[in-house]
């Protein structure tokens, strides 16, 4: 298979791999929520979350560099949001410049806020990587279904997963066909061809969608998603979920605890 990047599941044996997808998903949700709700200058909590996340990754035997590579993918998105923050926050100015009558300055508070947001997002992505690397997509979808996610959304995600491969193959064929006929030409021509390709891909996917729907109808589909679901929660799942929730809460409350100790 060519598209490894679509299949994030890592085949390994660890007790986290064997857990029920529901407990993994709920634990992730809890952990991410707590990380996101941490104050943006909660450096101690960030440190503890990092240690906790790394411990979980170590226990799941997901390779560290694999995790690091995947987690970096989120940074461009944060960058787009956070790049203006140092300029927009009130506080003590670190450096500034006058440009054509406008004063632009970076504040200390703004820098701290930005750094905090970067840490927070990066930390919040780690539990997600843990789930996707230790659960195969089918099990995850079954888990979501059992967690009462609307059937239509589960179906959409399942189709998305199934047809990503088919459509990337199609895109590759299109670009092969283009490469074998394009000799030089300016940027404008290049961009126009790219536009045609995107259009062709869209039309083909649309037609494919109709055919898939026909195939579903032919096998008795009537708008209700039905599937056999043989997931079962065991004691280990309850234990895992409880541990993660308790540790996450303890980390979230750690500044308070420390303050009480010092007082």
């Amino acid at each position: 298979m060519k598209y490894h990047f679509l299949d994030q599941y890592r085949d390994a044996e660890s007790f986290i791999h064997r857990l029920d997808p529901r407990s993994k998903f709920l634990a992730m949700l809890a952990l991410v929520s707590v990380i996101v709700l941490t104050p943006h200058d909660g450096w101690l909590a960030y440190g503890l979350f990092l240690v906790f996340n790394l411990t979980l990754l170590f226990l799941s035997r997901v390779p560290f560099f694999y995790m690091l590579k995947r987690s970096l993918a989120v940074l461009p998105f944060v960058f787009m949001v956070a790049v203006l923050l140092p300029f927009c926050s009130a506080g003590t100015e670190v450096c500034g410049a006058n440009i054509g009558g406008w004063h632009i300055g970076i504040t200390r508070e703004g820098l701290i806020l930005t750094a905090g947001i970067f840490c927070k997002v990066w930390l919040a992505v780690l539990p997600v990587i843990l789930v996707t690397a230790t659960t195969n997509v089918n099990d995850l979808l079954k888990g979501l279904e059992k967690l009462k996610m609307p059937a239509i959304m589960v179906m959409l995600m399942s189709f998305m997963y199934r047809y990503l491969f088919v459509i990337s193959d199609e895109a590759e064929r299109l670009s092969l066909a283009r490469n074998s006929r394009s000799f030089g030409g300016g940027v404008r021509l290049h961009v126009r061809t790219l536009g045609y390709m995107a259009g062709a891909l869209f039309l083909r996917s649309y037609e494919r969608g109709e055919q898939i729907y026909g195939a579903m109808l032919s096998r008795g589909f009537d708008g209700h998603g039905r599937s056999l679901n043989q997931l079962s929660m065991r004691l280990a799942d309850v234990f895992y979920l409880a541990t993660i929730m308790v540790v996450a809460l303890m980390i979230a409350l750690s500044p308070l605890l420390l303050r009480n100790l010092n007082a």
């Binding site: 089918n138 898939i212 195939a215 032919s218 056999l228």
Partner: protein, 239 residues
Amino acid sequence: MPEVIAVENLCYTYPDGQPALCGVSLSIQEGETVALIGPNGAGKSTLLFHLNGLLHSHEGAVRVLGQIVHDKNLKTVRRQVGMVFQNPDNQLFSPTVFDDVAFGPLNLGMKEAEVCSAVQQSLEAVGMTGYEKRSPHHMSLGEKRRIAIATVLAMSPAVLVLDEPSANLDPGGKWHLIELLRSLPQTKLIVSHDLEMVQELCSRAIVMDGGRVVADGSQQDILKDRILLMAHRLAAPNL
């Protein structure tokens, strides 16, 4: 012999006004293996889509096991007419083989144990036992075709309708498929350009062109009739 499929004077015009079927009539008896051949654009696929009610026409009628196909009995009809589409990537839409083969039985409201045994039996019938957990995107075209047939067999249809089952298969894969189809006891209607397969499998052949049935007879007679085949772009022209 009871009649499995009867098409009576069926006409269909595409929404854009182009006529696709102009008075098609044919009848398929139980146990027959019938080939439906004809040039591109003859209306073969359009006819197929009427057989299980994916398309509806206001002129003419389709009967499946004696019942006229209409809005109310679509579920029954679709169970009886097992439609295998040309592109298995469109027929196999679930993340795993098991889910795909179980899709039909689940929609028919079977119980869990029945679903599992239906899946097992149909995978066995197409020689794909042990593929339950696999994903379609990891499989070859020939394997996907077999699974596509299994998805339909799981609903125990009375008739199998196959659209170009040998398209794009290498000769080895094609002969595997021919053997597989020969081993299935159901009545079969096979749309194909592959006259070699038609010769191997079918007892009867129906030739369509321009939305009409232009010939209907024994496979041997039709495939021997070079003038007929040439007239409908089914054989090499005399150059």
